[in-house]
Each structure stands twice: as C-alpha cells, then as structure tokens.
C-alpha cells in the first residue's frame, strides 16, 4: 500500500479541520452553529483546535477518522470536518483499531478523557498501545469526570474534591494514575508526551506533540500518545484563569510535563488489500478440485439399512479422533452423508477421548452414537465403558496389545482382538496405530471399501508424502490382522 495523500498539504488553505458551520450542533441553529458545547475556559476546545490545525497542516483531514469517546468530548463530531465514529465508553482505541485495520490508509484518532481512558477503558488502551499499530491517541486529563457532573477520575489528585470524594480524595480512594508513564513502559508505544495548555509555550509544545503523533501514523511508523493536562473550570469550581494556574502549579507537579518516550520505528505498517480472487480463495480453503473416484458398490446394509454408527474411543493420544475423521472423510467421498462428533474440551487433554461417527445412506439424523454398530477401543477403560452399549449384531474391535481382558458384550456382538500397538511398533511408528485400527474396522465391518480408505489416506497426507507408505502398510496390516487372526 502506498501512503498516497488524497489531498496534498500544499493545495490546502491554512486553517483547521473544523466545519465552517456546526450543522450537527442542535442542527446548527442560532449560536450553536458557530460555537462549541464546552463550558467557558474548557481545555477541550484548545485540544480540538490544535488537533484540527495539525490535521490540515499535514494535509490528512480528508482521510481522517475521529473516534469520539463518552465524556464531555462525545460531541466531537459536531466540529471535526472528518469522518466520525462515536464509540462506547472506554472503547475508542478498540474502535480505532477496527477502523485502521479496515482502511490502513485512513488516519485514525482516538480522543478520550480520563474516565474513558484510564478507568473503564484501561484494558483497551493498554492493548492498543502494546499492539503498536499506528493510531494516534489524544488523552485529555482534567482529573475529573466532566459529563456526569464532577466525580472522581483515576487521575484525580490526592485531596482533590469531587462529587464522589466529598472530603477530598483520600487513601481509601487510591492514588492518581500516571497513565502516560504506564503507556510508555509498553514496548508497542512509539511516542508518548505530556503537555498542557496554560501558556503560550505549552500550547505551542502541545500542538507540536499532536502533530508529531499524527506524523508517526501518516508515515506508518507507530503508536503515538499525547496526554494533555486540560482545564475543567466548571467542576474545579474555578475561573478560567485560576484553572490555568492550577494546571501549572498543582497538576503539573503531580504529572510532570514533557517528552516521556520517543523510539520511532522505521515505517513498517503497510498491509496489502484483501483478496477475493477465486483461485486464491479455493487454494487457501484447500478445496478438492478433481472428482474423487468412488469404489463402494452399495451402502453397508448388512450393518444397517440407512445409518451406521461407529464409536472410536481411547485416551488422548490414541488417535481416535484422527481415525474417526478419516472414516467420515472417506464416507463423504463415497457420496454418503457422514458426521463425526468428538468429545471435546479438557477431556481431550489426556483423559478419555471418544468420537461418534455416523455414515448414512442419505442423511445423518441423530449424530450421537449411544448404541453404536461398531466400537473401536484403544484402551481398557474405553472398552469397559462402551462395549456393553454395542447393539446386537454389531462388533467390537480392540487393541489386544494393551487390553488383556476380552470385553463383556451383548449377545450376537462379534469381538475382534487386534494387536494394534504391536503392529504399529513393528512398522516403526506407534502413531499409525489408529490407521491399523481403520484397516481392522474395514475388514471386520466392511463399512466402505479398502480402496476408498487408501485413497483418502493418500489425499490427507499429500503434504506429508513421506508418511504415505507407512500408513498404507499400517492399514493393510490392520486388514490382515482381522482376516487371519493370530
């Protein structure tokens, strides 16, 4: 992706990315169309202004998306002549990332207050900073909740009055949070600076900081974070001038101004555009383009006229799921409907692992197999647990290498003891035990066709071609073991 500017800085008149008229502010009627909703002397207005000017100076206002928070700045979109999305409380950085990753060429600014960013939205800002994707965050710290009427913020100063610290913030209300220092500790953040608005020098520095954070994004270099100590004369119960002095003499002592981190990376953020190319999609989905040869003459009606169920059970590493999956794939290649449902979750980490497979002539109805036609058991507990459930006329196949005792089964259930593990060991690969089981299953139950299983084995091992011979051998050995029992 090229970082092509859709509007060149040079073509633009100097100014700010504000609407000429604030149509969205009470429909722009009367004075509202020309003024902000902020209280007299509020720091937000200045932060807006510097941001709006910086966007124009960088020539990026046309491709900018501003994310407004919940807080006094919720109506940011009244003023900024850019794309605007309003976010849920605390989630602006998460929303900003959604925008940035949708259109990497957009310039996304997450604008948040201290309640939004440092209280309810702490997880989102920390992870956005650590992720390091180039977005720009403007953090307005006025040490109080403005919109809801002057309650304590995480950044409220010790002893500071607020509506929820009526005696002043005391030890039970904790310590003020130094957000910029925390963000700066995160490796993903490139640039962190804390600024103020109380005099000409600080205002200049603030504007430069905002511009720098944006510039980092424009160049695809990194995540920029600018904290602005801002006045809230209303809830501080001060005049504008007193508020400015308060920031200078009190707040800035708690929250030292200046550059906190600047480790600009080389430009790196330039994702490609998503593809919808049919060939690529089909390749990525690993679809089978060639028709697969079918071998089954007819449905295994000797087991069931419509629907055959098989249970494969063992411990976690026995390969019951792999074998089950191969049966399902093979059956589907043969044109039948088939399902495989595993036992899942923590059970699958070491404990018993079992799989229910159905093969149906037209449609699998109930996919569970409480009374299977065939049980394949890889260990004694599984055999004990399920052998009694096998329906009359069905069969049990078990690994005689690890199970000493023949199972108790219902009348008319055939039992095949197959030394699966021993055969696999003889072939030099214990993992193929499940494929030995498949061969045994096919030979004992005649569920599908040997050739269809072998074909599926080859297809599923196509990217591990070296493994094909031993798997074929394992399958054939399983067949042989049932054909001529030891």
């Amino acid at each position: 992706m090229s970082q092509s500017h859709e509007t060149k800085a040079a073509d633009k008149k100097p100014g700010a990315a504000f609407f000429d008229h604030f149509d969205r502010h009470a429909h722009g009627k009367g004075l509202k169309g020309g003024t902000t909703h902020y209280c007299p002397g509020c720091g937000h207005g200045l932060a807006h202004k510097f941001l709006a000017e910086a966007l124009v100076e960088l020539g990026v206002e046309d491709r900018t998306v501003m994310i407004s928070p919940v807080g006094c700045a919720v109506f940011l979109f009244y003023y900024f002549d850019t794309g605007n999305t309003q976010a849920a409380h605390g989630r602006a950085p998460a929303v900003a990332l959604g925008h940035k990753l949708a259109n990497p060429n957009s310039i996304v600014v997450s604008y948040q207050g201290d309640g939004d960013l440092a209280a309810i939205g702490l997880a989102e800002i920390m992870h956005a900073a650590q992720l390091g994707i180039p977005i720009s965050v403007i953090f307005i710290n006025n040490a109080i909740y403005g919109m809801t009427g002057g309650q304590m913020a995480p950044t409220t100063l010790p002893g500071q009055w607020s509506a929820t610290t009526p005696e002043g913030r005391g030890p039970m209300q904790g310590q003020p949070m130094h957000v910029s220092e925390v963000i700066a500790k995160l490796d993903g953040a490139s640039y962190v600076e804390r600024c103020a608005l109380y005099d000409q020098r600080e205002r200049k520095r603030c504007k430069a900081a905002i511009k720098k954070a944006l510039q980092l994004q424009v160049e695809g270099r990194g995540f920029g974070f600018v904290e602005i100590l801002a006045e809230c004369p209303t809830h501080w119960h001060m005049t504008s001038l007193e508020s400015e002095l308060h920031v200078k003499n009190v707040m800035a002592k708690e929250y030292p101004l200046g550059l906190i981190k600047d480790v600009t990376r080389e430009p790196w953020f330039s994702p490609a555009k998503p593809t919808f190319d049919v060939e690529r999609v089909l390749d990525v989905l690993e679809t089978e383009r060639d028709t697969v040869e079918r071998f089954c003459q007819k449905f295994p009606e000797h087991l069931d006229p419509l629907d055959v169920s098989i249970k494969l059970a063992g411990s976690g590493g026995d390969g019951a799921q792999t074998a089950a999956m191969l049966v399902t794939r093979t059956a589907i290649c043969e044109g039948y409907d088939s399902t495989h449902i595993p036992s899942y979750g923590p059970e699958s980490r070491g404990g018993t692992s079992y799989a229910d497979v159905h093969i149906a002539k037209s449609e699998v109805l109930s996919p569970a197999a409480p009374h299977p036609h065939v049980l394949v058991a890889f260990n004694a507990p599984s055999l004990d647990k399920f052998a009694g459930d096998v329906r009359p006329g069905g069969m049990v196949i078990y690994d005689a290498s690890v199970i000493a005792k023949a199972p108790k089964v219902a009348e008319g259930v055939r039992v095949h003891a197959v030394p699966m593990s021993a055969i696999a060991q003889r072939l030099g690969n214990v993992v193929v035990k499940s494929v030995v089981a498949l061969g045994a299953l096919q030979q004992a139950a005649q569920v599908l066709d040997e050739r269809s299983f072998l074909g599926e084995l080859r297809r599923s091992l196509s990217h591990k071609a070296g493994m094909i011979p031993v798997n074929e051998e394992a399958f054939k050995a399983g067949v042989q073991a049932v054909r001529t029992p030891a």
């Binding site: 020309g34 003024t35 259109n103 205002r203 109805l365 569970a368």
Partner: protein
Amino acid sequence: MSRERPPVLVTEALCKGCGRCIEACPKKAMTLGSDINQTSGLTPIHIDYNLCNSCGLCVVACPEPYGLGAEVYDLEDPRHLYGEQARSKRPANVAPRKIPLPKVEPMVLKGNYASAIGAILAGCRHVYGYPITPSTEGAELMAKLLPKLDGVFLQACSEVATVNHMYGCAAAGLPVMTFTSGPGFSLMLEGISYFIGAELPGVFVDVMRPGPGLGYIGPEQSDIKLACRGLGHGNTHAIVLAPTSPQEMLDLTIEAFTLTYKYRNPVVIAADGYLGQITGRVTLPDHLIEPGLPDWAVWGDAAHKSNLISSIFQDWSELEKHNEKICAKYRVMEEHEQRSTGYQLDGATTLVVACNTPARMAKAAVERLRREGRPVGLFQPLTLWPFPIKALLTELVHANRIVVVEASDGQLEDELRLALHHARGPDVDIRHLRHMGGILPTDQEIYQIARSCTEVAQ
C-alpha cells in the same frame, strides 16, 4: 514594526468570556468585558485596539473555533442562518459483487470451520475474537486463513474489545464477524446494542454452552433468551438464525451477511456446542462475494468524509424518532424474514418443535414415529427471532399438540408462546422435553413423548 498583520476581531456572540486570551496577550490589551451580549447571554472580552499590535497570540489561546480571529464570524450569513446545509454529495454506494465459483468436491468440515468458510465466501476478511470453548476453532481457522487472503484476524484482549474492534470495522463499511459462546456473548451485549443504535452490520456466531456463570462447555441452547430478547440495553432486536448442521452453519453464515447489510442491523447465529464441534459434509455455493462499500461508511477518504456513525441523540424527540425508525426495521424483519423448515408435516396432529442439534434428534424420532404410522411432524425454526409464526399457524390448522424439545429451561418455548399469543393463534396443548447442562434430548426420549401425545389423541 514589520509587515501588516490582520487585526484580531472578536465575534461577540461566540465569545464565552472565559478570559483565557487575557493571559496570552503580551500587550495587556484584553480585559474581561462588562456588557452582556444579548444573543449569547455571556459577557464577551474587550480588546483595547490602542494597545493591540495584532500579534495573534490571543487567538492561539482561545478555545472557541470562531470566537476570536482575523474575521468576524457572520452569524447572518445565509449559510449559517438556516441550520443544516446540504453537505457535500453522498458518495456512490458500491454494491457487493458476486463472483462465480467453479464446482468443487464437497468439503468435510467441523461446524465452526464451516461457518468461518461461509464468512470468507461472503466476503468477510476482518475477524476479531477471543478464545472460548466450544467456539474457538472458528477464530483459529480465521487466524490461519485470513493472512493468506490479506485479511485480518486479531485476537482481542476480551470480548468487550472484540465487539468494539468489530464496531470500528463495521463503521468503516466492511463485513466483520466473531465467534463466541455464552459468557463471551454476555460481554458483547453492550457493544451489540451500540451496533443496533448506530445501525451497523455485523455477524455474531454464538456457539451456545451451558450457564449460568461459568457453567461448562457442552451443548446447550440457553442464550436464546439473550439473542431474541436481551441484546443489551434499549429497544434492541436482531435476526437470530439457528443452524442444524455444518452445511447450515455455512449457508446461514453467508445469509447472515446479506441480512446484516440489508437491514444495517447485526445478525446472531445461535448454534450449540455440538454444532460447533460436529464434522460433516459441506457443499460450497456457486459464487463468492466481494464486498462493496456502502455510501454511509466512515471509510476514511474525502468521499466519505461527511459520514457519521453514532447512536447519541441529544434531542429527546429525535431519539424517539430514531427508535421508531429502528423499530420499523424490526417490523419489516418480522414480516419478511421468518424462516423455518420441517419434516413430515403433512397431516401431522402432533408437532415436535426443535432447532439446532436437537432438531436432528427430533427428525430421527419423527422418522421412526411415521414409520409406525403416527402423525407426527417436525417444525424447525431457522429464525428464532423473528419466530416463524406464520408457518407454524399453517401447521396448526391440522395439528393440536406441540412438543417443544430443547436444551434449555424453555427459552425456545417462550419464543413460541409469545409469538403464538401475539398472533392470536389457536389454543394448543404445548408440552416439552428439556435438558440442560450439556445433555441433549435423545431421539429415544423425543420418540417417547411425541408418541404419548399421539396416544392421547387417539
């Protein structure tokens, strides 16, 4: 002094009299005014032009965009007088494009994978998620496939972050989705309410597991209430689709993307844990979709610059209107998007009503009962909201008994009863078979209860 500088002028009605400019003035030319401005009710600043040298420093200090500057803001300008202007023209609405897919062999897919592949074929290249059993394979497959398609999978720090990443992507105009399950879905509800309020499209696949609290990871259908009646705060609804098989996981996911854009409202796919985990045969559609870019998108370019995505309305009557607009969409959905299917419904006097995996068990039971000559049919809602009441009423012409089979404490039955009541449906005998905790009703149990219904009838 050097070159001419424009004078600094106050637009008196727009000056809030805060006095921030006073401190900024090196010439001490500014003082707090004394005359209340009759338009604003505030007291604007006073400039002593005998002292002022037009340095402009006060302008830098003024928080108001148009309070102080080189020109007076003309409130009488017709562009400013009459409120909202016809803003720069709306961008073109770029419609999604269908691209034909060649025929391929059926795939063998787990339900979660099938849904993921459905999303890819529906044009979704942006997926956010947080791991939670039994839905995680959806996220895992997306993490594997999307980078190969130059798409984005991002594992969020929580479900709360997930839904908000999605919100940003949706606001930018692109298809987006997630996979989750009960506890995660609960966390997403605030965000879903924002989606609805801001009229954004998004697809949420909830692979339902048992609650309450941590519950466990088996299959349940206990988020039906949340999906149908509890999508966060406010007057919220979304179309809720209920698949039964991996094939339907794919088909309904594709459908969900169409519906979510059609209504600019999220769509929930309510699956169950079994359905997430089950592997089956899946046939791909004959085309894939390349998404367009809707005219309302906040894409981040000049054409889309005047767009706004927001759910806040300061004016109460406007907010009421906005609610009415959203609710009118619900009425259209109720009218046009009811979907259901059935099995052996002809002449059935007893209806088994079930969705998701229990519908498969029910189908097996119905099959067996019909073989015995008993007039039992399966009615399977594919949309849980809106409940397919129109189709159900058609069946109630010949059926007088319903057995609702579900893996929850009557959440599906509540939807049915509510819909029946609103539609002034006939009096029917409604019974149920319920399981919870991860246990699904078996075909044998369904067989028994439905059979007993037919015996009562005889």
